[in-house]
Structures are given as C-alpha cells and as structure tokens.
C-alpha cells in the first residue's frame, strides 16, 4: 500500500490487524487505496494513539483487534441485514437502545474498543476525523472554549487537548461509564492540561453548566443515537456564543444496534442542522471504504456526513479564526 509506506504507526497497526484477522487484508487495502496524504497523516497519529491505548488494556492489542472484528462481524452485520431487508434501522426508541446496548457494559466496552480501530480503518470514519482535525479545530482561535458532547473513546478530545491555544476544553456525557472511559483514555495518553468532563444531560438545561458559552461544540456520531436530533442541536446551540460553530458528524445509512435515527444522506443532515436554527457554513460527505460517493448514494451505503454550522448573531464575542 503506497499511500502508507511512510506511516510507521499505521503499518504497525495494520500488520497486527492482518496477522490477527487475515481475511480483512483485502478490505484494508481497499480502504487505504488512494487515501489522501492529509488523511493518512491523521490516521497515522490515530494509529499511534490506539497502539498506546491497546497496550494499556487487559487483553492488549490482540484483544482490541478482536473487539474490532466483533464490531464488524457481530455488531454491524446483523443490523446491516435488517437495514437491507427493511430500509430502516431496527430500533427507533432510545429506551430500547439503552436496554439492548448502553446497559450492557461488557458489550459496550467491546463496541467502543472496536470503534477505536474503525476511526483508522474505515475510510468514512478516517476522513471525518481528518475533517475535524484539519477543518474544525484550526478555526478555534486563541483562548477559545471548546465542548464535545458525548466524547466516548476520547480520541476527538485528545486532539483538542493538543491545541495549546485553546482556553477551555469540556466534555459532557449522560453516562458515568463513558465519562470514566474518556478520563482514563486521556490519562493513558498523557494529557496534562485540564479537560473538564462532566455528567450533563443536554436536555436538562438546569443541570448544564452555563458559566461561559462555547466558541465551538462538537457532536460526533451522536445524532443517530437520539430520537430527536434537532432538539439536541437546539439544546447544544444554547451553549454556543453568537457566531460560534457547531461541528456535526453523523453517519447516513449506517445501521448499528444503537442507531435509532436514520439520516439518509448529506442533504438530510443539512436539513436537520438548519431546522435547529443554525446556518450551514461547510459540508462534506465521505463514503464507506472502497466505494465512490456516487455509488454510495445510489446503493444507500454508509456515508459520514460532516456539517460545520454557525449560530446566527454577531460574532464579536466568538474566538474564531476566519
């Protein structure tokens, strides 16, 4: 794979994945075929991080790779089957996803571990991550306040924490387990600067910390887990300064056991953001591995939809770069 010949961490990670799961070699080759240098660079850094996190886990990197295979074969595939048969996600209610997934800690642990690797090996995940690193983060100016809602595995927050110019970094989640996982990941990765991780229900305005609004808020792979993603974005935008940015990454046509809201493409994602009263500044769609965007749309295959939106109002108070 020419695209990654100068990427030592990627080569290490991929060699370990293929040694553990030889049948995955073809998929991996397809995923990296023609991957742009900027995306490869971010993927290489992600691979370094995931190798560090894997080494610190009880089952080591082999266990992490097994969890990634579990994600592909045992978590996603049955849902893909339902989606292809019916054109819908299997579940539509948060309570059902909570009962089947979120309340099952061992399952969630394997699921989250698998997603660590998917951010590197799944083309749509890798491209969306690069858009966050090279598109969203550079827009935050000196002293900017950044919030991630649902930081999960902590990879996005880690990259934010490396931006020394940021004045404040927060992560909110409704799950104490998720907060603990994020905190542990940041500690393993050696993050020393303060990152405030708090148990906050976005819909509980009274419980949300409001001291100082945010210049940028990230909701990555959150909306598809909610019954009412527009309401979630409305609630999130209350914590944005006028002119502040909401960066949304939502997968379309991407079945998973805890995906309950079906987004059918980038236009749909944009429509949701606009219905939340936000102005769309930038948008992009990244197809699943080995498929052109045109084919992905035609076949209703998974596409990561990235939207950078702006809260209306005079941006005089927002710490943002042009």
């Amino acid at each position: 794979m020419d695209a990654i010949k100068d990427s030592p961490h990627l080569n290490d990670l991929i060699a370990r994945v293929i040694a553990r799961w030889p049948d995955h070699a073809g998929y991996v080759a397809k995923s990296f075929d023609g991957r742009e240098a900027a995306v490869v660079a971010v993927s290489d850094e992600l691979a370094r991080i995931v190798l560090v996190l894997g080494a610190g886990m009880a089952e080591g990197m082999d266990g992490l790779i097994d969890d990634y295979r579990f994600l592909c074969e045992s978590i996603v595939l049955p849902e893909e089957l339902h989606f292809r048969r019916h054109g819908t996600y299997r579940l539509t209610r948060f309570a059902d996803a909570e009962r089947e997934c979120y309340a099952n800690a061992p399952f969630m642990n394997r699921y989250m571990n698998g997603l660590l690797v998917s951010n590197i090996l799944w083309s749509n995940h890798a491209h969306a991550f690069e858009a966050y690193v090279n598109g969203y983060l550079p827009k935050l100016a000196e002293g900017a306040a950044h919030l991630e809602i649902g930081p999960g595995h902590g990879l996005f927050l880690y990259f934010a924490a490396r931006q020394s110019r940021l004045g404040r970094i927060d992560g909110w989640d409704v799950s104490p387990t998720s907060i603990a996982n994020t905190r542990a990941a940041l500690a393993t990765l050696g993050v020393e600067r303060p990152v405030s991780l708090e148990l906050v229900n976005l819909f509980d305005a009274a419980g949300a910390p409001t001291a100082g609004d945010f210049d940028g808020i990230v909701m990555s792979e959150i909306l598809e887990h909610l019954e009412d993603p527009v309401a979630a974005m409305v609630a999130a935008s209350r914590h944005l300064k006028p002119g502040g940015h909401l960066w949304v990454n939502v997968p379309a046509n991407s079945p998973a056991p805890d995906h309950i809201f079906l987004v059918d493409g980038l236009d749909h994602a944009v429509e949701l953001v606009e219905r939340a009263g936000l102005e769309v500044a930038e948008k992009a769609a990244f197809p699943m591995s080995g498929v052109s965007l045109e084919k992905a749309i035609k076949r209703k295959l998974a596409v990561s939809c990235v939207v950078l939106a702006r809260k209306p109002g005079h941006p005089s108070g927002a710490r943002l770069r042009e």
């Binding site: 998929y27 893909e80 089957l81 080995g290």
Partner: protein
Amino acid sequence: MDRDAIRAMVQDILRDIVEDDSVVITDATVAEDVVDWDSTNHVRMMVAIEEALNIRFETDEITRPESVGELVDLIQVKLASR
C-alpha cells in the same frame, strides 16, 4: 430449480450488485475472486436472493457459505423447506 439455474440466478444478482456484467462464477468462486464482493455487498446480494426466491436466511447463514457452491447448496436446502 437445479443447481445450474440457481447459480445463474446468483450470477445475475451478483452482477447487478457489483455493477459488472463480466462477472462469471462457478461453484469454486469465493468472494475474494470478485472485485467489490465485500461484506456489505454480500448482505445486499443475500437479501436480493431472499426476495427473488421468497426464502429467508437465518442471520448466521448469511456469512456461512464460503464459496458459490456452498451458497447454492444452502439455497437448495432453503427451497426444499419452503
């Protein structure tokens, strides 16, 4: 349906799924032999076979066949029990 007819039908569906009319399969063909016959397209193909033949695969049967020959075997079993 005899094996040849089932294999021909699978070939037509697979050609449609991977958008390549030059695909030719035999009992020995495996997914790795066909460009774009990946896991997602495999699921799409299996669902298309279900709809074409009015049969239903169990979830664990979706990935069980390791070759076209094994898939044809499975389809014959499903047709016989329909």
